[in-house]
Subunit: 359 residues, 4 copies
């Protein structure tokens, strides 16, 4: 509580990592939308990231449409999609040794031992697959309105990618297709080498995802509690592993003078700004410039290196050797989840303004 | 839309900078709470910050209790508090020259010219006084449960404060009384000198606020959409001028290896962690360690230096000389608003768990 | 908790009968609406019902617009309207003798003695004046879309009005202007005589309000929890004194056979039904026929006749002689509140569908 | 939109009559509840009502627990339960002939032809099975607090049952076990005979369900929008086929004088009222007396008798012969759905007051 979010587009999320299925109910979609399921599968594959640098858990992520879809179109009633959990190895987990920086202990305090601890239960990144389903549908709605979301991996540990140079349709399309999108291909190789090394050492690394939303008209969002930043931040900080978020220049803008930070307006067919230090948002409302943001994703807490922890049964210190199958890095997998959350938030804000038939 | 937030403690915010009054309706408070109005006045004074480095607009901020308070206690029904706008100089503003990095243009797109542009209207920092009223009451509720919120100004532009050394009751009390709380007094002088210089030059500076929440029990917050981080981020990004937020080590944690980032558990009367890189939150739920966070506050966009902008009537470029009374820095004023939002969020999350009679 | 309702048009209600002021915050209104305040005053006067058959409490009901209105138009930000309580005689009330069928005892259990008992506090019908303000604005929005709400007093105690014969514009306008709208003027005289008699005897009577909503397009409302009936029922059962609600033929439809109850479709320029036993709603969604409903309003519980009750201090039985100024009948005063709630609900449902810029 | 209801206990409903599955996500349940699935099956069987007087559609209603249940207890995370649709005969339905008093036409207007029309789609009474699952769990939570819900069929068409005489545990238990609970067994026989006759004639009948909630403490519910009556009415009017609802004496109370209608308080170990004309609710809040209410359920609109209707393709009148398998009466099946909705509403209101760990 609460696993439900949204005002006009409502998402209801459920599932545990090793339960029967995970899923999502999406309410508020217009009727008559033809969903591109191939695109959803592509997005899910980005999250699964079947490469050498990710977990070897291999879920097919086949979608079961339980409701809300008929004759190849949305009906306008709640769309429920589930994904079964198939490739489960529950015996890898033990509940009594709380894993550092995992939800194990917090969950214990909250649920008094009744939580499904297998594979992280409801706290598992696995659940985000259902968010990607919802987000993919929202991306399709946005794309029909010429709104595109594009990201790159800004950094892995201390290796930084170059900034976007030109964000034309070609670049967007290229980055969107990539499972590990980095502007500078040489940097990318170094990033992957670093992840591979962390894996070999039983360790993990984190990084920063940078995202641009292109094509959002001005005037979207609300003052105060439904500001673009407020709505997106709630969605993005819902993603496991996210520890920081900034819009526009973010923390760096605090180093500027006001005269340097202010985005000067000019007119060229429409009103634009010369810089975009505010990330396309003023007073919580879009100004027509791209929305830009960066998200800090922490190193995966599941590492195979031996760690010290407490055994909840004995309250004694013990060595912890996490077995299971884990990711040395989830930054590239989190990227598509971040984009999904942004898509969900933007559709909801547009629905609030234009009605949920906007799609 | 929407100026309402909260699930069990609901806040309904209203007002414009130069309208008749600003105010807030607070619904969900237990009956029988004796409010300390002197403390609210102190908190409001922190926000007003009547010093040489802030705006010369001088509002008495007298509270009018319209409802929900009887015989010196809350009644349990909606508490409406208003503050009249008295010290108004509306002629200082013109609506047609859009101020860079202000909400003027975005509001124009959203409200089609019907917005109250005087003094920033509903987008003015002035409105946050009503949030401080709500936040102060929530702080009192939290304090009764031995939950304290304490902050310092982590940085102004590139001047950084020292980290907290010891956060005992005395330190909390001392920082909480301070209108410009900085750990290192020499750093504080340099910060104020910098702000004074910016003011003299018709410019402005920003900075970072760092906040600790002490005494929150473990098990508060929810997975996903009502995680501590999600709930607090929505509230904090609602504050005008906030461009970044991080919990625990935040963006810096992405530079760590997993083995360095993980907070190792140990047992000493209760389960604690040796480090607190995750800022007291795992899986969206408190683990009993202090909640720590940092907020980036941008340089005030209102500066008296001449800037270029567009005149909405002519769509031509013009020189903009913002008159009015403005702040060369709002970081210290925003600090109490940030704390207020945190207090509101924490009370709401506690109410969700324990019922709104928890206070 | 909760004094807030609505999804896209949000109403936040506050106030006590003998507090400083009552009021409402309305969030979600489009910018640029010119409000007809004379019409609101007319609606408030219907609720005040300054005649011989109502309370002698005489409130001027002057509106204070605190926010959201600028240059004679809505700004699109929260509109806060308050009405001061002026004509207060608090000494008429005592808190310890709980009045039968009033909220006194239930409020005592809920608020543990901290409630403002004066004049019924937050439970007073007085608070509904703020709802009429919100409702009047919504009526204006609906009227601009050719949606009209019209009611008559269907019965006072056992005296029944005739059914509507023709509901043309003239009839709607005539009934809407009337403070005590009854189709049959001879019936009306008997109703008023009955109320006058009840008043003379220190007693009270109740009755039924019947309402038609004309001009609502088909397709409004949602299956299940946001069905027209569900949304309107929540609003209408929020009104103090309402004990029953039925749509279309309501309880009487249970006496019909299915073949009699079913509303047969026919085509005449558009699809219509020959009967309207379902009150314009099928499956929770409008079908284009008028929405029809009836509301049972109980006899005012405040009567001057001596009653027995319990003294909360002594737990002993005592005679209760309610002084104060009370209504022998509130049916005609409740009528405009019922219409207000319907208007609020319909605007909200339209906003959900078309966006809050629909108005 | 919106298929989600509740504040602290949230229900998210989905499914179509002839889709893959129907289901519900329940969020906000405490962890550690052992659910009695046999009891849920019994409740579902009441709704299925496998007798001669109900539809011959025979669904096994096997529950699939997708999430939120582990080691025989709730985990505290969202509980998703689905029921597959197995016994489907979709060819019985045609979409173009709109059935009188069904949602067909309203749905067409709303969803523009994309709705799943088979078996009524999302508007089918079938979906209420998912509500019964949620309601059954809530009933179990209430029962643990000695709160019991009991109903009888007050009337079928013009045949009326006797009032409850004594509502002791034995009577509650007896009525709760009955699929067709009527106080007077002779009346029951006449009711069933009437339904059988209607069935034989290809027609249908409706009736009234009367429900008592026993054991609710005083002080539950809120003034205005979350009054007991407001909350329950929204849930009850969400049920397909409901056209009227009254609390306490309901519409009949309008025939009383105030002095007759008022429920006089007396003291006997606790404060009680001599009569219960207000149905246990004053000012929207429980007063400790039983909550009483009556619900009007219309005659099933699906009848096999030939009816006239419009063909949406041709806009011409045609004869309609509804085939499919239909109920000559749904009153006894609706009864358990009504109770379920009441249970959901009461748990939510208790959670709002005491936290969602109240169960």
């Amino acid at each position: 509580m609460s696993s439900i979010i949204g005002q006009n587009l409502k998402i209801s999320l459920f599932g545990e990592s090793h339960g029967n299925a995970i899923g999502v109910v999406i309410d508020g979609l217009n009727s008559g939308i033809r969903i591109d399921f191939e695109m959803i599968k592509d997005e899910l594959n980005k999250r699964r990231s079947l490469d050498n640098i990710s977990t070897s858990r291999n879920e097919l992520d086949e979608l079961n449409i339980l409701s809300g879809y008929f004759n190849d179109h949305t009906t306008g009633t709640p769309l429920c999609v589930t994904i079964e959990n198939l490739d489960i190895k529950s015996k890898d987990y033990e509940g009594n040794l709380i894993r550092p920086s995992h939800a194990d202990y917090a969950a214990q305090l909250k649920y008094h031992g009744f939580q499904d601890y297998r594979g992280g239960g409801h706290f598992s990144g696995r659940i985000t697959a259902a968010l990607v389903v919802a987000g993919s549908i929202c991306k399709q709605i946005l794309k029909n309105k010429n709104i595109n979301i594009v990201s790159h991996i800004k950094s892995i540990k201390n290796i930084e990618d170059d900034d976007f140079v030109i964000l034309n349709d070609e670049a967007v399309s290229r980055l969107n297709k990539n499972y590990f999108p980095v502007n500078n291909s040489e940097v990318k190789e170094r990033m992957i080498a670093l992840i591979t090394k962390a894996k070999a050492e039983g360790d993990s690394v984190g990084g920063v995802v940078e995202t641009f939303v292109l094509g959002v008209e001005g005037g979207i969002g609300e003052p105060f509690f439904d500001s673009i930043e407020a709505v997106l931040s709630k969605l993005i900080f819902s993603i496991p592993g996210v520890k920081g978020l900034e819009f526009g220049k973010g923390f760096e803008i605090t180093k500027f003078l006001g005269s340097e930070a202010n985005d000067q307006f000019y007119y060229e067919k429409e009103i634009k700004t010369k810089t975009n230090n505010n990330g396309g948002v003023n007073g919580g409302i879009t100004n027509g410039m791209p929305i830009t943001l960066r998200v800090a994703v922490k190193p995966t807490p599941s590492i195979s290196k031996t760690q010290k922890t407490i055994n909840l049964n004995t309250m004694k210190e013990e060595d912890l050797n996490i077995k299971g199958r884990h990711d040395p890095c989830i930054v590239h997998r989190a990227l598509v989840v971040i984009e999904s959350m942004i898509a969900i938030g933007l559709v909801d804000l547009h629905f609030s303004r234009y009605g949920y038939q906007w799609g």
